[in-house]
Symmetry: C2
Subunit: 241 residues, 2 copies
Amino acid sequence: MPSAGLLVIGNEILSGKIVDTNSPFLASQLRELGVDLERIVVIPDEIDTIAEETRRFSQSYDHVFTSGGIGPTHDDVTMEAIAQAFGKKLILDEQICARIERTQKEPLNDAMKKMAYMPEGANVIDVSDLWFPVVVVENVHVLPGIPQLFEKKFQSIRDRFAGVPIHLTRIYVTRHESEIAEDLHGLLREFSELMLGSYPRIGEPDYRVMLTLESRDRDYLDRAAESLCARLPSDVVLKVE
Amino acid sequence: MPSAGLLVIGNEILSGKIVDTNSPFLASQLRELGVDLERIVVIPDEIDTIAEETRRFSQSYDHVFTSGGIGPTHDDVTMEAIAQAFGKKLILDEQICARIERTQKEPLNDAMKKMAYMPEGANVIDVSDLWFPVVVVENVHVLPGIPQLFEKKFQSIRDRFAGVPIHLTRIYVTRHESEIAEDLHGLLREFSELMLGSYPRIGEPDYRVMLTLESRDRDYLDRAAESLCARLPSDVVLKVE
């Protein structure tokens, strides 16, 4: 199965000033696609740190996504870091310059021009009505931090990442985890390939634990869900969905 | 300044089934305390991966926090991984066993007993009315994934992490980043110690960019904010707070 890693770049996340909504968005998108997101790392706007993680991620995962740090200000250093990660030069893309100029209807100042610099040999993927493209260097997809743009840009390249979708069944139970743990062990002995999650919830009036059963094989999943329901006392299962 | 790293453990976050609220909570708490959160990593429920990251974090940061993986089910492997990280044995804590027994008013089953295993030599910090303590191994603070418990437990140990608080001024401006980038550069040339963030927002009717100015020195911060306001055309600053 294709694997993926997400690199979230930004002091604003680490300092608690802005809540990162790009990670949960990408996580559920990749899940739908059947791509295994194996790691999310949040790091500051520091060139060496970003470069090192980019290199590590690029070697470890099939697809790498970065979020943030590609604007026109002093703290936007992602492109420079990615160039460094791959030992490439940062060069001015004339095509993007021309595009910015058309949009702005005035000559580029230094800040705007900064946004047109990218690692040599980068692939540029146009996104419908946005003037700034998605930049791809090796297997690294460079996305912006602003959630509306992150989502729009990911949607526009989404089809490139098709894996084998994972099917999910949720079972809500009315007992504590420690009361059903043995049944879960039994289930896993029978269905060793099942992806099984157990998530206690506090403050839910109707249930105590949400169980998630997942598999890329729909039939296998259905048999596992059936087996679990048979193991649990009947008044324990609130609903299956 | 004290530094910190947060290790979020859980397939449920990576697969997009549960949104991680512990990271933004801890990020703002540490910021208030003046502790520098330098990295957040989200990894799956895999012993070797958790052990490796725990070791790395423990060496890299003054304080390490983990979130998740300490319940009674098959996917709760954090304690085992932390023991492995430090080459310690996992041993049954009789005191915690006794405490669980008192709360449950019945003999411990295997699942409950699992929660009383911890790395040899761990420190145990009691948390008011909760039967399960905060476990500390070297500089690693083991916290649960359930947000209500994560928050309650962190609050109970919060005073251990006092740094020097960081003061923050937010300035909202009505121009695009590229139009003010030069002024920001000028500001940083004058105030090189200033922590300056620039965050464009889409969909805000009144402003385009939120600037954050931060310093541990209140007076320095005030002078920097004043200098920035003087640099920007007066109709550009919507508000300062």
